[in-house]
Amino acid sequence: MSRAQIRDRLLCLLYFINFLYLLNPANAVAQIQPPTTYALTHAKIFTLAGSTIEDGTLIIRDGKIAAVGAGLDIPSGAQVIDAKGLQVYPGLFDSITQMGLREIGAVSATVDSAESGGYNPDVVAATAVSPSSEHIPVTRAASITEVLAVPASGGMDSFGSQGVIGGQAAAIHLSGWTIDEMLIKKSAAMVLNWPEIETQTFDFATFSRKEKPYSEAKQEYEKQVTEITDWLERARHYAQAMEKGSAAKYDRDLKLEALVPVVRGELPLLVFADRSREIRNVVEFCDKQRLRMILAGGSEAYKLKDLLRSKGVPVILRPMLTLPLDEDDPYDRLLSQPAELAAAGVKFAFASFDNSFARRLGQNAANAVAYGLPYEEALKAVTLYPARIFGLDGQIGTLEQGKLANLIVTNGDPLELTTDVKYLFIKGQLTSMDNRHLRLYEKYSKRPKAQ
C-alpha cells in the first residue's frame, strides 16, 4: 500500500467516524455553526429611532445590529436575505407573562408561577423558567422576541393568593438552550401585589363568598400596608449593616438581602393595582419611601393621570381585552384609556398578563389605535417603551447600531391580525418559527380522508 493509499484510507475512516458521530442528532446540532453575519436588503425598516428607511439595509453581526441605513455595503460572508416588499421592526416585547413558569393552567404540577406565603422577595423567576416550554415557540411565532417572566402575576391559574411580595421578574429572550442563554436581565423588577380594600372576598377554604364591613376591610388593608412598611424598614437596616459591618457581624437574611436593591432604589417595584384608590395610595407610598415604581394593571390609571405623570410612574396596562370594572363605565372605557394616558404624557406599555394570550399583544395595541392612540405610540408601547420602563433600552427596543438584533421581518403591519412574520431574529440568530400549533396543523392537514 502506498503512502497515498494509506492516507486516503485513513481519511475515509475519519470521514466515516465523523459520519457516525453526526448521525447522533445531538452531535449534529452541536456541529452546526449558524452564520454570524446577515444582511437584510431592500426592506422598509421601521427603526423606531428617527425616520423609517424605505429601501434599507440592515446588517447583523455577532448578535448585534452592525449597521442600518440605505445602500449599505454588504460585508463578505454575510447571508443575504432579500426583503423586498417586506418590513422590518424591532421584535415585540411582552412585559408581563408567566413564560416558562406555567405550562397548563389547570395542572399545578406544570405551574411554578406563584410561591406560597405572603413575602417572597428572594424567589427568582429565572430559576424556574423551563426553556423547553411549548409556550415559547408559540409566542415567538407571534412576533414576540422577548418577555418578562413575572412571578405572582396572576394569569389563568390564579384562583388563590398571589402573596404580597411575589419575587423577582426576569427579562428573557424567547430563544436559548438554557436559561443562561436566554437571560437579558435576571432581576428586572420586584413584584408587589398592593393590597386592596376588599369588602367582598372569596374564601377558598370554605368555598363561600364573604362580606365584611368597610371599616373592617380598611383595617385589614392598613395592617398589610404596615407589614410592607415594616419589611422595607428592616431591609433598610439590613442594608446599613451590610454597608458598615463585615459579613461576620450580622446574620444573613436572604429575604432582606433580596430587598436591599429595592430600598436602594436600584431595582424597581412592579406593583399590581387597578382601582384608583389603591393606585393613589401606592404611588404616594413609593414616593414617600423613595422607591422606584412601575404600575401594573392600572385599569383606572386614567383617573390619576396627572399624579402618574408628575411622579414619573410608568404603567404596564392590563389588556384592553377586558371589560370595564364598573357597570356604569362607558363600554369602551379600557379601550380609550391608552389614548387618554398618551395625551396626558403618562408613559405606558402593553402586555398580555398571561402567556396563553401573548399572541394577542399586537391586537391589543391595534385596538388602542382604533380608539384614538397614535399608531407610532402603539407600536412603541410593545417595543421601545417596555424596554425603557425596565431599563433595557440600551440593548433592545429599536433598530439601532449596537443594539441586540431582536427583530422581525413581516409582510405588513405587525399589529394587524392577518400579518405574517417571515423571518425572526433573536440575538442575531435567524430563529425558527416552528411550534406546537404549526406542527399539529401540518400533521392533521395531512390526515387521509376518513372512510
Binding site: 389547570a106 369588602t199 364591613p213 382601582r275 385596538n367
Partner: protein
C-alpha cells in the same frame, strides 16, 4: 310551606327601588329605540356574506326586514337615511356560545339537569348585553354551563337592549339543551371542600350518564306514545305522570330540541356521535371542540356544526392540543364552523377573532365573516332570518368604520329588526349627561346620609331586603360608591385583581352572580 312569592315581592321591590336610585339613567338609556318604518343605509361597503361585497351600496329596510340590497336604491320619501359613506355594513354578529343575560349559569349539583331552563332566568338588564351589542353582536345562543353531562335547556336571544325579558328570545328559534363532555362534567379541576366526588368522574362515566338518561327518555316516550294511542279510543284513561327532566330529552329524540355539546378531545367527540346514533338523535353543534380538527371528516360526515374559539389554549390538559388553525381546518373538510365567545368580553370583538382564521389556515374574507354570521345562523337554525344581508331577512346589521376583519375597526351602529339599538355617537354624546346625573345622585345621597348621623352604626349584617342606608356615610370616595351601587350584583372589583381573565375559564361574571363557586368553566 314557605311562600316563595311572599318573599320575592319585597325583594323585587327593593331591587327596583335600588335601581331607580342608583341607575336612573341606565334605566332610561335602556328604553328601546323607536323604529322608523323605512330606513335606507347608503354609500356603504356591504359585506353580504352570502353573495359577495357591494361597493357604494344601499340597503333598504322596511318594517324591520331587509327589503332591498343593491348598488343604488332611491330613498322612499318617508325613509330615514343613514349615510354610511366610507363605512362597512355586515350582518349582525351571531354568538353561538354565550352566558350573558343570565342570572345563573350552572345547575351543577346533579349529573343530569335537563329540567332547568335558561329562558326562565333571563336578565334583560345585564350590562353585558349592551357591551356585546356595542361589539356588533345581534343574537346569541344563551347556554347553560358545563358542570354536568346533560345540562339545562337553552335558547337563542336577540340583544334587544332595553326590552323586557319576554322580548329577548329569537322568535321561532328551535330551543336547545347543553351537554358537556370531558374535564368539566367529570369535575377534574374543581372540588368543593366537604363535598364528595360526584358521578361521573371519568369520560367512561360521562358516556354512561348520557346513555342512562336517554334509556329513561326512550321508555318515558314509549309510555306517552302508548297512552296517546290508547287515549284515542279509551275513556277515563289516566295519563302518565310528567317528568320534567326527561321531557326535554324526548324532544331531543323527536328532533324538536337541538343538542349543543361542550367538548374538547377527539375521543369524546366520537363517543357522543356513537351515543347519538345508538339512540337515534342528532347532535346539532359541538361547542369549543378544540380537537375538532383531528376528527373533522367524522364531524362533516355526521353533519354536525362546530363552534370553537379563535386562539385560546393551554388553560387545561384538554386544551393543550388546541390550535388557532382549528376553524380553518374543519372548514376545509366540509364542517360548518362558527367562532364563539363563551365570554361577555370576547363577544365584543368576534369580528377580529374571525379574522384570525385568515392568518391561521388561510380562509378567505367571506369564509372568515361566515364564522360569526351565516354559519352560526345555520347551526342555530335561524339562517332563514339572520346571518347574511339578503332580501327578506331581519335587518340585523353591524356598521363599522372600516373593514371589520381588521383590529382597527370600530362598530358605529348595531341594528336589530331595523332599529338602531347601539349608536356610538349617541353613546358618546350622552356620557357627560350621565356623569352629571350620577354625581347629582351621589351628592343627594351624601346629603341625606349626613342628616341622620345617629343611624351611623357599624354595619355588621344587613338582612336581605333591607336597604343598607347606614353604610353610606362611610363611603367617602366616589369609586367606593360605584362599587357598592347594587349589592345584588357581583362586584367586579374582585376580578380587577385577576389579570386578563376572559370570563369562562376563570370566573364567569354571569356565574358569579348566583353561585359562590368561582372557577367554573362553561
Amino acid at each position: 310551606m314557605l311562600n316563595a312569592d311572599g318573599l320575592r315581592t319585597p325583594l323585587l321591590y327593593f331591587v327596583c327601588v335600588l335601581r331607580l336610585v342608583y341607575f336612573p339613567h341606565s334605566a332610561s338609556a335602556a328604553n328601546p329605540p323607536d323604529a322608523p318604518a323605512v330606513i335606507l343605509i347608503r354609500n356603504a361597503t356591504i359585506l353580504t356574506v352570502s353573495h359577495g361585497t357591494i361597493e357604494h351600496g344601499s340597503i333598504l329596510i322596511k318594517d324591520g326586514k331587509i327589503a332591498e340590497v343593491g348598488a343604488s336604491i332611491n330613498a322612499p320619501k318617508d325613509a330615514q337615511v343613514i349615510d354610511a359613506a366610507g363605512q362597512f355594513v355586515m350582518p349582525g354578529i351571531i354568538d353561538c356560545h354565550s352566558h350573558i343575560a343570565a342570572e345563573s349559569v350552572n345547575e351543577g349539583s346533579v349529573s343530569v339537569s335537563s329540567m332547568v331552563n335558561m329562558a326562565e332566568i333571563l336578565n334583560p338588564d345585564d350590562i353585558d348585553i349592551y357591551r356585546d351589542l356595542a361589539g356588533g353582536v345581534a343574537a346569541a345562543n344563551i347556554l347553560h354551563g358545563s358542570a354536568n353531562s346533560i345540562g339545562g335547556q337553552t335558547l337563542v336571544i336577540k340583544l334587544r337592549w332595553g326590552q323586557p325579558a319576554a322580548k329577548l328570545p329569537f322568535e321561532g328559534a328551535i330551543p336547545g339543551i347543553k351537554f358537556a363532555l370531558g374535564e368539566n362534567p367529570k369535575r377534574s379541576n374543581f372540588s368543593v371542600p366537604g363535598q364528595p366526588k360526584r358521578y361521573p368522574a371519568t369520560r367512561m362515566g360521562v358516556e354512561e350518564t348520557i346513555r342512562g338518561a336517554f334509556s329513561e327518555a326512550r321508555d318515558y316516550k314509549k309510555t306517552w306514545d302508548d297512552y296517546n294511542k290508547r287515549a284515542a279510543g279509551e275513556k277515563n284513561l289516566i295519563p302518565p305522570r310528567r317528568d320534567l327532566r326527561l321531557e326535554p330529552l324526548v324532544e331531543v329524540l323527536e328532533g324538536k330540541r337541538y343538542v349543543h355539546s361542550h367538548c374538547y378531545r377527539e375521543d369524546e367527540i366520537l363517543m357522543l356521535l356513537r351515543v347519538a346514533k345508538e339512540f337515534g338523535f342528532r347532535v346539532r353543534t359541538f361547542q369549543h371542540v378544540l380537537e375538532g380538527y383531528k376528527v373533522a371528516d367524522e364531524l362533516a360526515a355526521a353533519g354536525v356544526g362546530a363552534s370553537t374559539f379563535s386562539d385560546w389554549w393551554a388553560y387545561k390538559v384538554e386544551a393543550y392540543d388546541a390550535i388557532p388553525y382549528n376553524a380553518a381546518l374543519m372548514t376545509r373538510r366540509g364542517v360548518v364552523v362558527s367562532i364563539n365567545s363563551d365570554d361577555a368580553e370576547e363577544a365584543t370583538h368576534l369580528n377580529q377573532e374571525a379574522a384570525k382564521s385568515m392568518k391561521f389556515g388561510g380562509l378567505s374574507n367571506d369564509e372568515a365573516l361566515k364564522l360569526v354570521t351565516l354559519n352560526p345562523a345555520i347551526q342555530l337554525g335561524i339562517d332563514k332570518r339572520a346571518g347574511s344581508i339578503d332580501v327578506g331577512k331581519d335587518a340585523d346589521l353591524a356598521i363599522y368604520n372600516r373593514d371589520p376583519l381588521s383590529a382597527y375597526a370600530v362598530v358605529q351602529k348595531t341594528l336589530i329588526d331595523g332599529r338602531v339599538y347601539f349608536d356610538r355617537q349617541r353613546d358618546i354624546a350622552e356620557r357627560s349627561e350621565r356623569e352629571k346625573e350620577k354625581k347629582a345622585l351621589i351628592d343627594k345621597l351624601k346629603k341625606s346620609a349626613e342628616k341622620k348621623p345617629e343611624e351611623k352604626k357599624p354595619d355588621a349584617t344587613v338582612p336581605i331586603g333591607q336597604k343598607p342606608a347606614e353604610k353610606k356615610p362611610e363611603e367617602k370616595k366616589p369609586e367606593e360608591k360605584s362599587r357598592k351601587k347594587n349589592p345584588n350584583r357581583p362586584q367586579r372589583a374582585a376580578s380587577a385583581r385577576r389579570p386578563f381573565c376572559p370570563g369562562v375559564r376563570c370566573e364567569p361574571r354571569a356565574n358569579s352572580r348566583s353561585s359562590p363557586l368561582p372557577p367554573l368553566l362553561h
